[in-house]
Symmetry: C2
Amino acid sequence: MALEHAILVSLLEQPGSGYELARRFDRSIGYFWTATHQQIYRVLRRMENDGWIEVRAVQQQARPDKKEHSVTPAGRAALSAWLRDPVQPDSVRHEIAVKIRGAAFDDPSALITEVERHHQAHADRLTHYLAGELRDFTGPEAPAAPDAGEELQHVVLRGGIAYERMMLAWLEDVLATLRRIA
Amino acid sequence: MALEHAILVSLLEQPGSGYELARRFDRSIGYFWTATHQQIYRVLRRMENDGWIEVRAVQQQARPDKKEHSVTPAGRAALSAWLRDPVQPDSVRHEIAVKIRGAAFDDPSALITEVERHHQAHADRLTHYLAGELRDFTGPEAPAAPDAGEELQHVVLRGGIAYERMMLAWLEDVLATLRRIA
DNA sequence: TCTTTGTATGCAACTCGTTTCATAGACAAG
DNA sequence: CTTGTCTATGAAACGAGTTGCATACAAAGA
């Protein structure tokens, strides 16, 4: 049950509306925890009832009004407690791995296109991450002396980069294996 | 919705009872797709209704009776169709990454123990995978000329090994970063 | 003027997954 | 002879997550 906490982190980094949170969950924090806008609105309501966040109506020009959410001291305390609460490492769920084992009972060459598609998707994501790293952390625009928050965002991004590189290398291994068999 | 298909693959590799499937989902296929026994029983029932599997009652000595499930031609066809159906790459969900970004709003050193725990868990899993690889694929007991099924199982296992190695390296990066900040 | 796109919020229905509880046969240890 | 462990199956309730639908304001373009 980490969506509440992911939202707390995102709102602490920058208060915002449900709509803005949904967009952040399509990039940035969403690289490691996904959510749709319906889920976000529902959880925001619950968090407000629990006193973790407070809502302020904001009038905008040239746009519909929005509700800006920010974290209360109680919300900060809840996040702090969660950070100290040990959770067990997430078990990975790789649909593609199930498919690869299933290929033993079907024509293995039929999977090659699918694996190539995944390879392309991971290559695209890696490119995207590397561009973000250059822009925010390693390029000329980047802060010379990053603060704790920036350091932590960077190390999480490095995790995403390492993951995509690992997947690319593995998918190439898979392709070579499928071609050998077929 | 891949649990049905993961069960089909597992039953094609070896027919078995719900209980046996649940144990396989604690190792082997479960490294890439997890499920509890309740979920397995419920889905088996549905798959039987759909005609994907058939059930045979088996008397056992010194044990309660069991129901052995095996895949029907219709189930095989369903698997085949799924293998050809493009799915989008799974988005990863790393609770630990959310926690790391959250550490910017709390005492970062409080997270060090938690990250060390995760590091240990991944190290254990890597050891386990490597032992399995040696036993089944690279050791003296391994088949000299593996068939397609064994080749595919091995490449999936290599993926697990690569994943654990990547996580270990990244978690060390995270630890170094946390210690630098604290 | 009408359609499309973007911002903004929300309900309802459904599926997926987890947790808790319950039952029952067989064996082994104390 | 009671307790614990392993095998084996399942119901019920809940929580998490997805999909489809609905509404509304405003700008831009055809």
